[in-house]
Symmetry: D2
Subunit: 346 residues, 4 copies
């Protein structure tokens, strides 16, 4: 039987990336999976040709309204909507696999949600980083999935083995440098090409960024120690990509070899996390358009810290690729299906 | 039986792009096609991990020397070498499908070759733009193929229906704006990031660019009139993409509707040429990493000219994608296999 | 007596550029010129610190409303407003030197204005390209000045000697590739960093761009032949800079040497037009932040055309620098005062 | 009497920036300062027109060999040479003010020098950050000056008040994101436009970068506590600019207001350090081409750290502007002469 997939919020960057990946997915190419409704808010009624000319196969499709009626009758619904819409849609689509790219169901603690998002907490869904211990199992066959934020994905995959393996005191100084597509496809003076090209700026600094509690939550799952995070996101002049650098105090006696081996072992079976050869640093261009996370770990003896770095494409492993990876797990098909490992470099 | 493919010049941008596409090719994924020798010049002996970290599946492979011994025993050999090496290799690999990304066998006239390349002409191989009348047939089952230059691909696909359809006097003013990967992966002060970002410059102007005679040759195939081309390549600050703009004197009585219909009809059956809705201009970001050529045609009545525009990814439809498309034709498999139509946008 | 200068529309890119130049102007540094009112529309009431952090000397200034009351009492008023506001302000400020960066008073023919701008023609003011024959004299001591459009500046300076000198048949194919600041500081999805980086696209093609009649008007001043212009503007991923390439049919007998000498002689006395050594093409990075226009001329014998190229910074020589150059002429001070010739490269 | 200035290494980015600033220096414009010899290594004999077309005023100058003979007879010699050449030239030019942009005379401890540079230590010259306590006095009238590294300038100015004021435990996690011109104008595959655009990568991580000991040395001047620095430089796709982010453990009881006031007071008299309004983060575009350092300080209570950020143009305040600021101090002229405070934004 053909699986029918809808995308709500199809005209944004996350929606477009999900569609790009689905169009290359072997289940789509073999006819086992079909693309149903594509919905949006203000763009409803517009042909895909006008909104996403990079998807010529869908050029003649018309964007529909994001309503429960339009979305029902699908086997899988991807939500690529702003925060706050997921609960209502999720409730209405009982028999559907709902994969939510918004933040609504990511956080476990209601207090954290309310502090950072300023509205009532709606609950928690299985959290879509299959590479976190225990998560793959939760995602297999799940009918509700919360796709992680782009920054938490890069930071979590960079730090997880070090925190789980007790290589560091988990007081992390995280600087994540991001391309501008992470800010979405909404008109804004601060995101104009003139303002971002030739420019670097930190924003939502000093604990204000909403992804901070998500990182703390993820890392706290693998340690009993208290995790603290100083998070500094930086906007850089590229469309896609997040480079995350993390330093934390090295625990006594941890050597470079031991740290590297911890990482090697932790990710040995993972298709989408690639530990680089020792001494080679991740580069965002090497994950462009791919679902990979490249990582590296380095002891800085003189400073007494461990340096953890990762590179992801914020729209692929950081959003749309993670969503498709989660769909594969939910549907019980090959987890890696339709997800490029090779990047569009240079 | 498994098809065995080698890439000579694997460490450059064209070689890397061919490999990226092969790694996603359904024949590779099903095991019907395997990647054999990867060769290069000065990089021989280096692991792929060091040279092309964007291809993690090949990380452990070692680049070998480009020799006939290493390349023989393959069913398909892609040559992504500088000009001047193809003839010798081609002669030695009798039973192999040789797909040459260099210019060596593109031009028909020895005099043109000698004028532009300064060496003896080696001959002409079937020319790899399947969308040119008669070329698909030549490429099907071919054992020698000359992959076109990136600029000629964009210019030819933009102008072909207008020239063939007699919409214009074929005196073309072509301005092709290109990303910098077209210049290859060779250290050079003029191509440093500092020199190309924030910068625009024309180069090899006034008939000096080697792709000029190739464009003239292609367009002359579809008209009896003499074709003249003024070609101005411009280097722009992006890694990939060529936007080509062409103007030529409009023939009397040609209307916008007739011109658009000529283009629609000409490319109606083509998978990789996409005529945009009337009024929408091609954008290079909408073909990034895809094998598509987006085109548009517009009558400028007041100026009395026809404006033809196209966008391609110089490394995909402009080189590596064209090479794989030609391989598919040569091997008799689905022409579109492994070639993305959706682009990595934004 | 101190000259008092106001800028209306100070918070936009043109206004900011005028202020940057004034802050480095010797008359300002010596105290002979002071900066009075800075006005805007919706930003009125905001400190400059919030809107233009690149001008720290003015950080504490507050943007005022754009009204005749606020602007009166100044010796010079720069208008950096959208089209349509200049006539009313101009009428009200009788004794003031008004330098208008909008299009309102650029065109001589009412019909052209109405066709391209869709409103009633308000008249024509002295046109601020001092390098055009006769214009410097009109600008000296003028009380009303229309600053030219950025594209017309680049195209006019590139083509003027060729048209005036009869080197070409004046049927020009102009392609002008521009940085995105030319589109102004207004929120728009199409100008988001994500949409412009890694992207090239033509827009307002086939005679639709409003700068087309301005170029025709300028070039028609120096020839009796009918001038036709096919104008193709292209948006490229850089903040500032316009590279203009022009081809036109070469008149018989014109040699490379004669063409170059025509250009050399035409601009021999001009401070802000720099003919590059023969064979060297203009680059926008070499005029970044400077008031220069770099030009080159090349015969393409085989194609039978003349290639004319120029590079300007659209915000400096293309707008704010031209405005200050005009102010200098209007006030009778050194035309070059405060206008950098050296660029911020790389 | 006219001051005669030479630049050794004039064809590189630092040399070009010094010349750009000198050409706009009031002493140059008034004729009190003239530009003498311009020298380089392999470019000797080449006209400036070919090497630095952005300096049209010097187009006809010919680059000379870097020899003591050529450099002698000048009042000021700027050395913009690779490390290792300064000592010999410095010894030979006894009566000249020598301003060295290389690292040779920056470090005080021979052991640090030898560890990081692998050659014998040549000594220490007055260190050119006038904003460091006591340094302005050393620089006034100095005949030998070591211009600081670009990263140390950004990091030192960001951290100095916090370290001096005891706001933090001086264990600093520094991430400095830089444009590519910092790597110089030398052909290299890793710095090709194709490799840096669309890319982010850390390099010389984990204590390996040579600027690490320079930062430690600077900050140790203002505290008795031991300073440790984890330094992570990141290459980003822009030509110029360094954004530095620093976190360090907050000392107990330090409030946001107290931290901000410490910074305000520390830099109250400084022309070239601009503390932004509270809550506004530095952006590199706002210092492009200017000699400014924009700084900000923020308490992150939950993480228990202080966040310090700064933006500079690596070629201006980071090299060439610092060199000219030092020249002004050495010659006893206005420290700010010829040094822009307004930036070329956007």
């Amino acid at each position: 039987m053909t699986i029918k997939v809808a995308v709500a919020g199809a005209s944004g960057y996350a929606g477009g990336e999900i569609l790009r990946l689905i169009l290359g997915h072997p289940s789509y190419l073999s006819g086992d999976l079909e693309i149903g409704a594509l919905t949006a808010g203000s763009s409803a009624g517009t042909p895909v040709a006008d909104l996403m000319p990079h998807l010529p196969q869908l050029a003649d499709r018309i964007i529909e309204d994001t309503t429960v009626e339009v979305l029902s009758g699908h086997d899988v619904v991807f939500l690529a909507l702003p925060h706050g819409h997921s609960a209502a849609i999720g409730k209405a689509l009982e028999d559907t696999v709902v994969i939510d790219c918004a933040a609504d169901f990511r956080l476990q603690e209601a207090e954290e949600w309310e502090h950072y998002y300023g509205s009532a907490h709606q609950g928690t869904w299985p959290y879509g980083i299959p590479e976190m211990p225990g998560h793959r199992e939760q995602l297999q066959g799940a009918r509700r999935i919360a796709v992680p934020g782009c920054f938490p994905t890069g930071a979590t995959l960079a730090a997880l083995p070090a925190v789980a393996g007790g290589l560091i005191v988990p007081d992390l100084a995280i600087v994540s440098i991001t391309g501008v597509s992470g800010a979405g496809k909404k008109a804004s003076v601060g995101l104009l090409g003139s303002e971002v090209m030739g420019n670097l700026k930190a924003y939502n600094t000093a604990g204000r960024h909403r992804h901070t509690p998500e990182v703390i939550q993820n890392l706290s799952e693998v340690t009993d120690e208290e995790v603290t995070v100083s998070f500094t996101p930086v906007l850089a002049p590229l469309p896609r990509g997040i480079l995350t650098t993390i330093t934390a105090p090295l625990k006594e006696g941890v050597t470079q070899d031991a740290a590297y081996e911890t990482y090697r072992a932790f990710y040995a079976e993972e298709t989408f996390v690639h530990l680089l050869p020792a001494g080679q640093q991740p580069q965002t261009q090497n994950v462009l358009g791919s679902n990979m996370c490249h990582v590296q770990v380095e002891v800085d003896e003189r400073a007494g810290v461990l340096l953890l770095t990762s590179a992801i494409d914020n729209l692929t492993k950081g959003t749309g690729g993670a969503a498709v990876q989660c769909m594969n797990l939910a549907l019980g098909i090959d987890e890696a299906a339709g997800l490029p490992q090779a990047a569009v470099a240079p």
